[in-house]
Symmetry: C2
Subunit: 441 residues, 2 copies
């Protein structure tokens, strides 16, 4: 392509889109290779470093300035949006690839993805090794392939495609690969603390090529239940901590129900299309030591959702009040104690204005590439977008590929969708940042 004089009009010029589509297609195999390489690094919580090494190398190869830094909990603790760590931050870095244009004429952009993946679940249930990706029927399978290594591969491929066309963005772009999205978000928060801001942030989370307009708040809590122990020869003499724990989880269900009720005053209009936006999940349990002893202690790990606008402190109070009342009033819990603590997500929800420019430009890019209008969705989970939007003065949304069974068994991503997302992101970069020709040094 011949360079045009106006950085912002290039994307709309005749022939640009077909050329971009071709450039993306030309790079698709490399994108898939990178994605598979990323999946091979089992970047579970605490084990992200080798995947980040790979990312840093890719960023360097693209000519980006690499900024690598770890999470400084002491620095973050007083920031809004901070969540108590669930593991030490040592030995795993955020990696940011910094792109600076020759002339900053367009709008700056953060492209953010998280490198951490959730545990695999029982490996025997997978049809193949979750960290040895396989491709079947146009889908790649592996833990984290969708959530969200495909998104990272796509934003890298988008940038590469533009470069292959002879262009580079006409505004700063910060390519972020962060840790700890899946438990605290402190990786993204550390990027904020380091000063990263832009005119918009896009996270290619695997939400099926929809545009995210809102997300719920998410909180992790741990309930340590102490029953009253006894020999099993008379189970009636003790209060089984495992059964008590389950009863307490049951007492939280009406709270979940109340928050999902259409009449709930906390309900946010962005979730009007959802019958059940708030999920309480009993995600982990451990209790007892010996089959023939009435168990004394049982620990529950729960994840609870809540509405945008609900203060996490108020959510904690509601949970604690509910449990305290259960202990007071349920005869089956007589003598039982429960201690609630909070590690991991204390994440507020948020909603983006429907007229946000970033949504309009992504929508236009999606339409140009696919011919359709992307669905706008309020998500019933959290993403790192909250940090940019709530605390970083950076409008943020998610737009990423179709994936299935994220957090489940045989997670996979639709590779055609990854290619389409790559094209949409490349066009979006062109429209948002503008383009300038690459000048050989």
């Amino acid at each position: 392509m011949a360079p045009a004089s106006d950085p912002m009009s290039l994307a709309g010029s005749p022939g640009f889109l077909p050329a971009l589509t071709q450039a993306v297609a030309d790079g698709h195999e490399a994108c898939i290779t990178l994605l598979a390489d990323l999946v091979r690094h089992p970047s579970l919580l605490g084990q992200e470093q080798s995947a980040q090494d790979l990312i840093a190398g890719v960023f360097t190869g693209l000519g980006l300035t690499v900024d690598r830094f770890s999470i400084d909990l002491d620095a973050l603790r007083s920031m809004p949006g901070f969540s108590p760590a669930v593991t030490a931050p040592d030995g795993r870095d955020n990696v940011v690839g910094i792109y600076q244009p020759r002339v900053h004429s367009g709008r700056s952009l953060i492209l953010n993805g998280h490198i951490d993946v959730v545990p695999t679940g029982p490996a025997d249930l997978w049809s193949a090794d979750p960290f040895d990706p396989v491709i079947r029927d146009g889908r790649m399978y592996g833990r984290g392939v969708g959530d969200m290594k495909a998104g990272i591969a796509a934003y890298i491929a988008a940038f590469s495609a533009l470069r292959r066309m002879g262009y580079q963005p006409a505004a700063p772009v910060f390519f972020q690969s962060v840790v700890e999205e899946e438990c605290t978000g402190n990786g993204a928060l550390a990027c904020l603390h380091r000063g990263y801001r832009a005119d918009a942030a896009v996270i290619p989370e695997p939400f099926g090529q929809t545009l995210m307009t809102a997300q719920v708040g998410v909180m992790w809590l741990q309930i340590v239940v102490t029953g009253t122990p006894a020999h099993v020869l008379d189970t009636g003499a003790g209060r089984n901590a495992i059964e008590s724990a389950y009863a307490i989880a049951g007492h939280l269900k009406p709270l979940e129900q109340a928050w999902n009720d259409r009449a709930c005053p906390h309900r946010h209009a962005a979730f009007d299309g959802h019958n059940h936006p708030i999920h309480f999940n009993l995600g982990k349990i451990e209790g007892g030591e010996w089959a023939s002893s009435v168990p004394t202690r049982c620990t529950l790990d729960m994840r609870i959702g809540f509405h945008p606008g609900q203060d996490p402190a108020a959510v904690r109070a509601a949970v604690e009040d509910t449990i305290a009342q259960a202990l007071r009033t349920d005869p089956a819990l007589n003598g039982v104690k429960a201690e609630v603590s909070y590690g991991g997500f204390q994440a507020e929800g948020f909603a983006l204005p429907e007229d946000a420019e970033v949504l309009a430009e992504l929508e236009a890019s999606h339409h140009a590439v696919t011919g359709g209008i992307p669905r706008r969705v309020a998500m019933t989970c959290t993403t790192d977008a909250r940090f940019f939007a709530l605390y970083g003065d950076t409008p943020a949304t998610c737009y990423g590929p179709h994936a299935s069974r994220i957090h489940g068994i045989d997670e996979s991503v639709d590779l055609a969708s990854v290619q389409e997302v790559t094209a949409v992101l490349a066009l979006f970069i062109a429209r948002w940042c503008g383009l300038e020709p690459i000048v050989e040094q």
Copy 2:
């Protein structure tokens, strides 16, 4: 005491009981010291050896021949009463102190106790270190102090008291300190395999100076529940394995209820005094990995009781049928899998004839020492007595001290009761085995 000519009449001779009571009192402090020493050895499953070293030393000091041997699983596997091991048998021995009289004129006897103790539960709930015994208000506190190190200390003290009086049993006595009573009973089974038999066996389990006439069957089983995994953003899409596991445990409750029903055909007359002899205990649980993932797998460890006469194979079939039906019929378990396996107790129940001589002699001994008649009880737990009674042609019962919170927090034993049990056991030895004077070598 002057030696009498008839070994069997000595115990009834005038002045014998007061002298025995005095000898037991004289030895009580040593008995308490030994008990505390035993508690200081944390003889949890797999860690019994140092306590057994202590026992072997004590047996040697009493002039007994020490027979020390480990559990040979291959040899035991085909024996009736075998239970699948839950841990390797290496490095922990049974210890038997063998006493042989000069002349075998009375009835031989096995005095059996188990050295293994169950886990402590949360140590922070104990008022003191569970393995550093303390005495308060006439009770000693510590894990295993009642169940059943006090019983072992008592049978040793009983033998010592007789010796201090100048007597020794006029029949063989086998003092057994066995491992693995609390999970399989394979320690006691190994004693059978080694050939130990006697005219009776008494186990001083801490049953409050009652006479055990029957005990239930006990089975350990593990249920591995597999749900269908999903991201927590739509918990409805998955089947939570933790909640499914609870549901399955709930489906077993009617079986427990049915077996406790007065009309249950399996009910044994020995348990007519019990409204609820059969306990199902959900003793251990572990499930899930991540608060924000719908858990895929959850493992339950249960202990279930059943009636004397019920075949363990039939019990297993009943449990499996119940679970299979639950999976077929409960819509909440749609798509859920459950695998049942059996490690640990596969222990049959048994009942002793009410006219068993060992009961009569123990009753008479108890009456002579305390002035009361010991309550006869059918126990809702299992003990090693089953091996002797069912497979060893050796009538067996339990008679031991008052303890509280066995298997619980702040387990303790009443030391006055330990002294009384010591006197009863000493008198019982005298009556059962007869006595012969010790002849200085």
